[in-house]
């Protein structure tokens, strides 16, 4: 397949379709990358039209309040490796409890895909859900816990690992329409 190295369409500024910042739903879904059924997951360019997990698995909700979770990506040019984008998902474990200590250890050892719902939903709400780390997963890059800051919460960032890149700055999750995609997101992509 030929490389995409030319612009194919205009970059428009539509006053009806304006940008918005922030995440919605007060939660993100973290999926263990090994639980993704790659054969049944379908992508068309940047859009994931079916995100299917292995039978009996599900994603896990990572809840937050206010604006205390975010996602971002950055282009990473390389003289030696393939150029691409680095993805980041920032969130927090709200309390310094035993349960959250277990979660912290699991996050430290795991590799995840993060799905979020942004406040910007696009035309016909088709761009509401963003997926980060679908190709290579996100690994823990940083976690800090300070009893004097952030109400004792543990802040963490999972990122694209060094040496890996993603082909798109973010992927869009859209299975049929917003309602169907929202139902999947709310159910944390649980596969029976």
């Amino acid at each position: 397949m030929a490389c995409i190295d030319k612009l194919a369409e205009d970059i428009l500024n539509d006053c009806v379709d304006v940008g918005k910042k922030g995440l919605d739903s007060r939660k993100a879904v973290l999926i263990n990358i090994d639980d993704i059924d790659r054969a049944a997951t379908t992508l068309t360019g940047a859009t994931i039209t079916a995100l299917t997990l292995k039978a009996g698995t599900k994603g896990f909700n990572c809840e937050f309040y206010k604006e205390l979770a975010s996602v971002n990506s950055a282009f990473a040019p390389s003289t030696e490796d393939v150029d691409g984008f680095l993805h980041n998902f920032l969130c927090r474990l709200p309390t310094s409890s035993a349960v959250n200590a277990e979660r912290a250890k699991e996050i430290a050892n795991g590799r995840f895909v993060a799905v979020v719902e942004t406040r910007y939903k696009g035309v016909d709400q088709k761009d509401a859900f963003k997926v980060y780390g679908i190709e290579n997963g996100l690994k823990l890059a940083e976690m800090t816990n300070d009893s004097l800051a952030n109400s004792g919460a543990s802040l963490f960032t999972v990122s694209t690992e060094e040496g890996d890149v993603e082909q798109y700055p973010y992927n869009i999750y859209l299975d049929t329409d917003y309602a169907t995609s929202k139902a999947d997101f709310d159910a944390a992509f649980a596969q029976a």
Binding site: A55, A183, D186, A187, A190
Partner: protein, 243 residues
């Protein structure tokens, strides 16, 4: 509520008021079984209440997932990715879901005690039942159309056979008449030749062999020599000849 009774109630309620009144006794029995209350047929409000209550009971599922607004994706028996939701869950959907993998019972907070027995039989959702009835109706119509086509073909072939028979008869008639003409012509010629032979042999009448000689000849030879004489035995032939 048993599945058959439930499906019948759904069908009757969907069909409208006429069907409700037609099946009133059945609905009233089911209503009494569920609520312990009687229904007065003449009272519209009572009948309406019965219909609403039965509608509620038939759409209510005995299965409940853990948690509200739960939604699972899974591959059905055809390998197609489908969804099952807590919202609007029916017993049939839950049973099909469990029949595929009974260990999924852990996803339910409420379920009937005999769920293991229920998943053993054939399970058909309302949508599948409607689809099955449509397919069966279509199959019946196709079979009817085929039978009609076969019948019309048979009639056609009978007609054609008759026509062929008639044509053959005509043909055989015409052939027969030709044959008859040929035979008649041959006979006429034979008669003519025989008359000529008789005329030429007329003078040789006195030279007829004796009776004993004639009687010793075969009928074939006699006929060949004297074709105008008709007889079926030598004795009769000789008598006629000498006469």
């Amino acid at each position: 509520m048993k599945n058959e009774a439930r499906l019948k109630i759904i069908e009757v309620i969907k069909a409208g008021d006429k069907e409700v009144l037609k099946n009133f006794d059945f609905l009233a029995d089911e209503f009494k079984r569920k609520t312990g209350r009687n229904v007065v047929k003449g009272c519209r409000a009572s009948v309406r209440f019965m219909v609403l209550t039965l509608n509620y009971f038939t759409t209510m599922s005995e299965f409940k997932f853990n948690g509200r607004n739960v939604h699972y994706k899974y591959k059905n028996e055809l390998g197609v990715q489908v969804r099952i939701k807590a919202d609007g869950l029916t017993d049939e959907e839950a049973l099909k879901f469990l029949k595929q993998k009974p260990e999924r019972i852990s996803l339910f907070s409420e379920y009937p005690k005999d769920w293991k027995e229920l998943i053993k039989g054939d399970i058909e959702t309302e949508a599948e039942r409607i689809q099955r009835l449509e397919v069966e109706a279509e199959a019946v119509e196709v079979a009817k159309a085929k039978a009609e086509a076969v019948n019309s073909k048979t009639n056609q072939s009978e007609k054609v056979e008759k026509q062929i028979e008639e044509a053959e008869n005509e043909q055989s008639d015409s052939v027969n008449s030709v044959v008859e003409d040929i035979v008649a012509a041959a006979e006429a010629e034979a008669i003519k030749a025989a008359e000529e032979a008789t005329a030429s042999a007329g003078s040789d009448n006195n030279s007829l062999p004796s009776k004993e000689v004639l009687l010793s000849m075969s009928l074939t030879d006699l006929r060949a020599k004297w074709p105008t004489v008709k007889a079926t035995s030598v004795k009769t032939f000789v008598e006629k000849l000498l006469a």
